[in-house]
Amino acid sequence: MKRMMVVAFVVTLALAFVFFLSAAMLELAPAAIDLRVPVSAHLTESGVSHPVTAVLLNYRGYDTLLEIAVLLLALVAILAVVGEAPVAPSRAAHPVLQTLGRLVTPLMVVVAVYLLWAGAFRPGGAFQAGAVLAAAAVLLHLVGLLAGWSSPRLRLRIGLAAGFALFLAVAAALLKQGSLLQYPPDAAGTLILLIECGLTVSLALILAGLFLFLAREEGA
């Protein structure tokens, strides 16, 4: 009975919220500020021609820096939670699947590289590339070609942290330009590409890690 009351209450609340929210949205006037103007105005100095990438890694690069920190942090937290656990023997899947995996993986790597390179001037970039690579690793694990990871050894830890460390180092080094992450317009493109390469590797490792460090806990 009490349960029903609670449900009814929450649902009514939610519906009311949606109603008022929509009503308020529809009566909205145009925004006072339009950021598309400055975004495109400074695009040439930003070092990339794709506005989203420009925002992501230049105008609001600081957000991205902290975001990578969040990702790395999540991985650290997960490792701290699951603790030491034996690596799960990966279940060998049907040979057909395995061959499929063997075929698809290189393809995905190529896609990733393309996405990374494309990011500078059209949709794509480090995140998508990293995600694709991670997906490849996950796939390999699922078809039984890649074992779950045990708690990471030094080399893996370096790999996981490298992208973020690189990003951080560049950000700090750019302080001498006057402020954090202030790319000199001429070198901006190169630096951003450098950062993106680093990020792609680490993002791939971290995202794969989110999966593979948990996977190992299976059967433990």
Partner: protein, 82 residues
């Protein structure tokens, strides 16, 4: 026309979201969630945000889905702890 498509997409988003929470079986729910992710990708495309679309497909639907399914695989077999 486009509006009609948008509305349809919106409704299917809501429906898949609702099913994700409401279907009794967890595995179905997770599949529903992955569907939801793919629909989101469409929505991003409609909002002319291909970057997000890519990310959603790869991370939102792909990786998260894989994580969920893997977890489901473990949780399915109830195990008493020490």
């Amino acid at each position: 026309m486009t509006l009609a498509f948008d509305l349809l997409l919106a409704l299917s988003l809501l429906w898949s979201g609702w099913r994700t929470l409401a279907t009794p079986r967890l595995d179905r729910a997770i599949v529903m969630f992955i569907t939801f992710g793919l629909l989101m990708t469409l929505a991003w495309a409609r909002l002319s945000a291909p970057d997000i679309g890519l990310a959603e497909a790869a991370i939102g639907a792909g990786l998260t889905g894989a994580l969920l399914l893997d977890a489901y695989g473990v949780l399915r077999r109830p195990r008493k702890g020490p």
